[in-house]
Amino acid sequence: MSSLAYDSTAMFGRQLQRIKHAPGVLVLTQTMPITMLLFFGYVFGSALAMPGEQYRAYLVPGLLVATAAGGLMTGMFQAAQDSHRGVMDRLRTLPMSRAAVPAGQSAADLLTTALGMIPLMLVGLAVGWQVENGPLGALGAFGLLMLLRLATTWMGSFLGLLTRSEEAAGQLGSATFILPLLSNAYIPTDKLPGWLRTIAEWNPISAVASAVRDLCGNAAPAPDAAWPVAHPVAGSLAWCAFLLLIFVPLAVRRYANSGR
């Protein structure tokens, strides 16, 4: 095994051990979207023009995407936490691959995110969401969700390394909850004023949410929307590739040089 793969596996194991020692955080992050589904779905859903069940079916993919995009917050916080603890110094004096720390972390994060989405999907199916396009479409949707998670985690890692303290990363991270609000994750964008609609539709979250709805057969892409939403699968792939191409090299470089 190459040193990158071996070291990443070690860091992956470390991450799982940490979760095992403090499972509370994980439970909390998984219950949040379910709470939102029930709250938005039944409270807001009864006030919207869209019938309640139809809105809840619309909302589930949005919440899945918002959960995936939460990688931004997780990545940011973890990177800040690690870089402000002495353990990063030790890792940096070891003859290990420089990319292994973020790589192992994001691999562990993908696994926990994937598992954590299951309860949300089950509750979603119970309140009216349906997968109407067969297992292949569902698998494709799941793949896109993981890809978005990966991209946002790396972006978060880089931003977390830029912050000067864990507190700052925590504050900045919590502010990212507005990102899904500025997209089509929770509400359709076609009624928004023009400029706001443009912003919301160029939000990567909108592209992935539309792609998940498309692949699960919940809603066809809106042809009059901005390009990434009108062609959501291609748009999602392009967005994720773009984010990864920028933030993976930046984060790896930052990891290797932090403290210099």
């Binding site: 040193s3 071996y6 070291d7 070690a10 860091m11 194991g13 470390r14 051990q17 940490r18 020692h21 403090a22 603890r85 002495g86 353990v87 110094d89 030790r90 890792l91 940096r92 004096t93 070891l94 003859p95 290990m96 292994a100 403290g259 210099r260």
Partner: protein, 324 residues
């Protein structure tokens, strides 16, 4: 610097410089640590000790100068250096969320020790550092001394050729401190070179073969603890019967030692540093007796390293003032 023609150096640095914005942390640090020895890097807070360790352990890149550790350049051959060193920093450098055993096994893996080799080495070190009972607990629950021991154990997984310890006993209770000291001595007995920084002169005196005094980012003075003490001679100290006798006692000591005596009115003591190696206690007593100074006690002793430190950094300061 320490001149030993036939030895090879485990750590050799020349003119190391490092700036952090306006702060000139190192201004040309020269170090030469012979293989198998313990070098104590001594200096006040802000002298540049930690920066020096971070440069030598590849955590920082120098702005100028060069350094070789275990024969490899710390900038151009980082991986080779990293394979041969162990580092224990000032702050805890283990994962507080993992158990002691998980920490050691993780670092063993990252050192490239695969399978059972890493697990066995981890168990061995847990035993050696008296951590077997706590091995299954998260490191965050450890006491300061236990955490430091785990840190040290993590630095020794591969039996490094050069071990860097940045203030290894700062803030520890005496029992934990003694454990760390014993571990360092055991390592040097096996041939490991140790570079340790400390604010405690006692620590350097007890552990180090050579001491490098750094002040304001430069090596101010280098030598063995005995050499450093010899450089400031001995300390003459007398207790007189009353405060009124102190000026006359001071005059006598001034003449004998050639340095300005320090007076303590409360303790009624007069003390002076002597550079004269031939000065003996009988001579002091006879001179005081001849001057009819009534004394209760007199002593002539080697200086403590604290006194060496204050005196030598003082002269380093005044020398600089003369130059500038």
């Amino acid at each position: 610097m320490v001149c030993r023609m036939t030895t090879t150096y485990a750590v050799l640095s020349e003119g190391l410089e490092k700036r952090f914005g306006e702060v000139h942390a190192l201004r040309g640090l020269d170090l030469a640590v012979a293989e198998g020895t313990v070098c104590g890097v001594l200096g006040p807070n802000g002298a540049g000790k930690t920066t020096a360790v971070r440069l030598l352990t590849t955590l920082l890149a120098p702005d100028a100068g060069s350094a070789r550790v275990a024969g490899y350049d710390v900038v151009r051959e980082q991986d080779a250096v990293r394979r041969r060193i162990g580092v224990t920093g000032q702050s805890t450098s283990v994962d507080v969320e993992l158990t002691g055993r998980q920490n050691l096994q993780l670092f063993a893996k990252l050192h490239g020790m695969r399978g059972a080799a890493g697990r066995e080495r981890a168990a061995e070190l847990l035993d050696q550092f008296d951590l077997l009972d706590a091995a299954g607990r998260a490191a965050g629950t450890y006491s300061g001394g236990m955490r430091r021991r785990l840190d040290l154990a993590a630095s020794l997984l591969t039996r490094p050729r050069v071990l860097f310890l940045d203030e290894p006993t700062t803030g520890l209770d005496p029992a934990s401190r003694n454990q760390i000291w014993a571990a360092v001595r055991a390592l040097t007995a096996e041939g490991t070179t140790v570079l340790l920084t400390t604010q405690y002169l006692e620590e350097a005196d007890r552990l180090a073969d050579d001491i490098v005094l750094i002040d304001q980012g430069r090596s101010a003075v280098t030598g063995t603890p005995a050499e450093l003490k010899a450089r400031i001679g001995s300390y003459a100290h007398v207790v007189v019967t009353s405060e009124a006798e102190m000026p006359r006692a001071a005059a006598v000591l001034d003449q004998l030692t050639g340095s300005e005596p320090q007076l303590d009115a409360v303790e009624r003591t007069v003390g002076a540093v002597s550079m004269d190696a031939t000065l003996t206690l009988p001579r002091i007593v006879r001179a005081l007796d001849a001057a009819r100074v009534p004394i209760l006690d007199a002593s002539l002793r080697p200086p403590t390293l604290d006194e060496v430190f204050l005196r030598l950094t003082d002269t380093a300061d005044s020398r600089k003032e003369l130059v500038t």
